[in-house]
Structure formats: C-alpha cells, structure tokens
Amino acid sequence: MVRMIVSRLLVGVFVMWGAASLIFLIVRAAPGDPATVLLGPDADREQIARLHETLGLDRPLFAQYLDYLGDAARLDFGDSHRLGRPAMDAVLDRLPATVDLTVTSTLIAVVAGVALGLLAGGRAGGLLDRVLSGATIALQSFPTFWVGIMLVLFFALGLRVLPSSGVGTPQHLVLPSVTLALPFIAIVARLTRTSVAENMREPYVETARSKGLTEPQVLLGHVLRNSLVPVTTVIGLHMGALLGGAVIVENVFAWPGLGSLVVDAVANRDYAVVQAVTLLIAGLVTLLNLAADLLATRLDPRIRLEGAS
C-alpha cells in the first residue's frame, strides 16, 4: 500500500516535469510577444529590447528553461508582468473560488448520478432505465454555456430566487455548480448504471437474495459498493477536468476562478501565470487520480493485492 503510494507520487513528479516542459514550449511557440502586447503597438524597438531584458526573454531558450524549472520546483513562477505581482499569488487568490465550484458540482454529480444509476441499473431495461438513458444523453449533449444561460433565465430572471452571477453567498454557488454538475451527473449516472447492471448478474446477488433481503437491501447492502469501483476513477478524472475546464461557466456567471484567470493570461502572453496555473492543475489532477485509486482499493480489497505486487 505504502509502496504503491510512493511509486505513484514518483510517477506524479515525472508527470509534473513533463507538463512543465510542455507548457514552457507551447507558450513560447505561440505567436505573439509579451513585450509587444504589454507596451502596445506604438512602442519602439529600444523599449521592447529593454523589456525583454527585464523579463529575461533575451537569454537563450535553454537557459530560460533551466531557470524556469528551478524556480518552479520552489513554486516560484516569477512576477506576472501584467498584474505586477507574483504569479503564484494571483493564482492562489483565484484557487478557492475554483475549488468551491469543483467540489460542489462534484458532490451534486456524485450524489445524484450514483442514485440515478443505482435505480436504473437495479432494474435494467425498466421504465426508469429507459427514461434515464435518454435523459443522460441529452444532458451530455447540451453545451454548458447554453444550459447556464437557460438556468439564469429561469431561476435568476424568471423566478428571481437565485443570483445570476458573482460570488459572496452560498446562493451564488448554486447556478454555476449545477450547470457544471449536469453533464457530470450524466457521466456518473451512466457509468454507475452499467456497473450496477453488471453486478446484478453476479451470483453473489443471488446469495444476498437467498438471505431474504429486499431489493433495496440487496442494492444498498451489496451492489452499491462493488459498483462504485470503476466510478471513482472517472470521478477523479472528471474533477481534474473541472478544475481547468470551467472556463465557459466561469465566464457565464462572472465567477472569479482559475479558468477566467488563465484565459486572460493566455490572451496577454502572461507566461508566468499560464505556467503557474497549468502546473497547479497538473499537480491537483495527479493527486486527485491517486486519491481516486486509493479509494478504489478501499472499496475492493482484491485491488490491494494487485497494487502490492
């Protein structure tokens, strides 16, 4: 168990190094020059050259890369030339809002998705199963910006029960997290449904029934836990996607998270911020996947054996 965690963490370090290198190259390969963006079209060559020097952009690429790796290892990504403050500070300012949103929508998606998947898979081919399979396809197909706007129109402008955008109160969290959760619910529900339906065909379910258990007792007492093993992995992966992929929803709801920060940073060639956000998300995704795998081994004792070997 401990060996598994350590080896996974070591792999995680390599993943981070790969992500750091990739983002370094991509950012510099993209057209556009931070100095030009910062100084505007009227700047003369001398001004640009001076700024290049201050930003360290005049040095050889490889030297920049080594500096960058060394600083990144100490979680120092340099100053954001646009915001005029350390990039990591700017990122950490935005992180809580994104974490709030990610965690809330994950909770909604897991509770609703697992419940729906359990009900549908418990009676595969039944009415609820058929209704749900249609509904989940719809939920996954609607683009999030459209769903977000529809929810705003209905709950914020129509019923006037929830704020349409911004942050501050728990009510502000409802619409954006629901918007993010809807396609996530569909993913979790479909996966849980498949897993539950598979487990329902296992002989141990017959044994549970032969004890005189009711169907809800069989589902909750035996099938649920065994069905969640593949679901945890996907939840971990999708949470990672939410961390970095909430850009559209953050824009619709004026949510001050990492997504909107990184969009600004990319548009302005703010290398420091882009690199800080990317590496932070890469680190979180690595940890989330490890956590999901650890949870899976808690759920199914047979996985522990495989992990040890």
Binding site: E206, T207, S210, K211, L213, G221
Partner: protein
C-alpha cells in the same frame, strides 16, 4: 464440529417424522417453469421432500434440476415463471406474496451455490456475510459475532475468529464452500437447497464437503435437496433420488433401491455410465447421444432417441409417472419390463 450448537429452530423437525403420512415438509406437484408462451424448462415435476431427509435431484445439464431448485426458493431468472404447486408445510408458496416468499428465504429455505467464490460478495468480510441475516434480525453485535464464530466452526472453518475477518479471495475453494454452508445455516432453515455444491471444487475437497453436508443434515435434522449431475455424489448422500430428464421426472424412489434396480432406461444408462471404483471396472458404458434440450424436447418420451428400448409408442405418447413398486415411480411405458429385468 459436533453437536447441534446453535440455538433456536434446530429441533423443530415435525412430530410426523420422516415416515409419517402427514403432509411432507415440501411437496412439489406438477411444477412447471418457463417464460410465458415459451418452452417449459421444467414440465410437470412432482416429488416430495420429507422432514430431515436428503433428496437427490439428478440429471444432465439442461435437465431442469437447477431451475426446479430456484423455483422452490423463488429466485428464478427474469422473465421466467413457475406454475403448478409448491406446498411448504402445507402452505401454498407459489400463491404467496413476495413479502412472504422473502420471509421464507434464508430463514426456512436456504440455498448454497455451485461456485462459492462467485456466490460470496468479494468486497465484504466473511463474517459480515455469514452474520448478515442475524444482524438484519436485530441481534446485538456481540451475539451475531458469537454465532458467526459458532457457525463457521460448525462448518469446519479452522480458527473462525481469525477467518471471519478475511475476504472470500483469501479463502481456498473448500473454505469458501464451508463459509457458504455457514451462511446458509445462519437463518436456521428447515430445508437446504444445495445446487451442485461440490462441482466447482477439487476432487479431494469434494468428499469432505459432502461429508460435512451429511453430518450437518443429520445433526440439525435438516431436509436437503441435493442437486447434482454426479450420480456418485447423490448415491452416497441422498435418502431418496429424483432423476430428471429434459425437464421432466424420469424416475424417483428410495436411493439405494433406485440405483440398484432402476425402473427407467435413463437411470439404468446413468448407472452403467459410472465406473465402479471398487472393482476397477473399465466397462463403464457412456450414455449414447447428447442430452435433450427442454426447448426442443422430442415428441413422446423425451428420452426415446437415446433409449435402447424405444418402440413406436415412445415416439408419440408422453409416458405418465406411475408407481411400479411401493415408493417407486417411473415415467416409462415399459417400466415394469425395465424394473423386472
């Protein structure tokens, strides 16, 4: 593992006793199983399971023996229904509601399955699974624990206090089946359905599990329906035998007499197909042809395409089950001929 230890329910073998003419513990009469409008996987099966008696239900794969057992405990696959009569202590089980059937399951009729690894929940500790029925009955935790240790010990699981904390994959095949037997006994049932309980086990373990089943049956005064394709398994364990072929009863009667002197050509062929181990006889005669599928059951007597005695009548008329001698029933047009030879 000696002595009936667990309290409650063990001593409730009926006053009528095994030989009594009173209503048997379980009476199966004209049982049919199949999808509505589809072929009958089980077709008009009748037999009785008296108190404290082991009945062997024997047949090739596809003969409907497993479906018969599942119909009795009420765990048929989806879309398949049972018709006819199942009388449990005089009560009509097929007419009973789902709540009543559930209440019978585990506490009056329990079942053990062919593959104990698949039949145990891989993510729950053995003790939890064995004790579940007791826990659901509201017994305090310490009492459940005590009984689980007792049940595992009774089923021959060594060091039950330690083993109850293990998971099924940490058990050997034999131990898993012992745990399964402990699980089935937890609800103090009066009838144990054992569906091919030794088929998935190593040969050396098979004999031990059968011995355990025999001793548990005797000591607890259990009735047992032992479903098997293996004549030897049934011969050494069952008091009575029901032979099934293509979803119907071919023959039934007391085990010893039935195997010594079959009254149905199918039973005779089955007996001939088993090599007699003691005499080292290599003369075992395999059964010609392949088992009939109940979905495409031949007209007349389902066994006629493989029967050495088949005549014109066998091809057209379904033989009725008739009593050829006291307690001996055969579904063969020429039962008297077979029985007399």
């Amino acid at each position: 593992m000696s002595g009936p230890t667990t309290a409650g329910g063990t001593g409730r073998a009926g006053a009528a006793g095994p030989g009594g003419r009173a209503e048997p513990l379980l009476r199966v009469a004209g049982l049919s199983v199949g999808a509505p409008g589809g072929p009958r996987i089980v077709d008009g099966v009748s037999f009785e399971v008296p108190e404290a008696t082991t009945v062997g239900l024997i047949g090739e794969s596809g003969s409907g023996k497993t479906m018969t057992a599942r119909a009795i405990i009420g765990l048929l696959p989806g879309g398949v229904e049972a018709g006819g009569t199942l009388r449990w202590r005089g009560e009509d089980l097929l007419g009973a509601g789902p709540g009543r059937r559930r209440a019978v399951r585990g506490r009056e009729i329990a079942m053990i399955f062919q593959d104990p690894l698949a039949a145990l929940n891989p993510t729950q500790r053995i003790g939890r699974q064995v004790g579940e029925i007791l826990r659901r009955d509201g017994l305090p935790r310490r009492e459940v624990r005590r009984r689980v240790v007792e049940l595992l010990g009774l089923a021959g699981v060594p060091e039950p206090e330690e083993r109850m904390r293990r998971y099924p994959h940490e058990f050997s095949g034999g131990l898993r089946q012992r745990a399964m037997i402990a699980l089935a006994l937890a609800g103090s049932p009066a009838l144990l359905l054992a569906d091919e309980p030794t088929t998935a086990l190593d040969v050396t373990v098979q004999a031990r599990i059968l011995r355990l089943l025999r001793s548990v049956q005797r000591e607890r005064g259990l009735a047992m329906l032992l479903v098997s394709h293996d004549l030897r398994v049934v011969a050494h364990t069952a008091h009575q035998v029901v032979v099934m072929y293509a979803g119907r009863v071919a023959e039934r009667g007391a085990a010893r007499q039935l195997l010594a002197r079959p009254a149905h050509p199918y039973t005779a062929a089955l007996v001939r197909s088993v090599p007699a181990v003691r005499t080292r006889s290599a003369l075992a005669t395999p059964l010609p042809g392949s088992p009939a599928n109940p979905a495409e059951r031949p007209a007349g007597c389902a066994f006629h395409p493989r029967c050495p005695l088949a005549r014109e009548r066998c091809r057209t008329r379904v033989p009725e089950v008739r009593e050829v001698a006291p307690g001996r029933f055969s579904a063969c047009h020429f039962a008297a001929e077979v029985f007399g030879s």
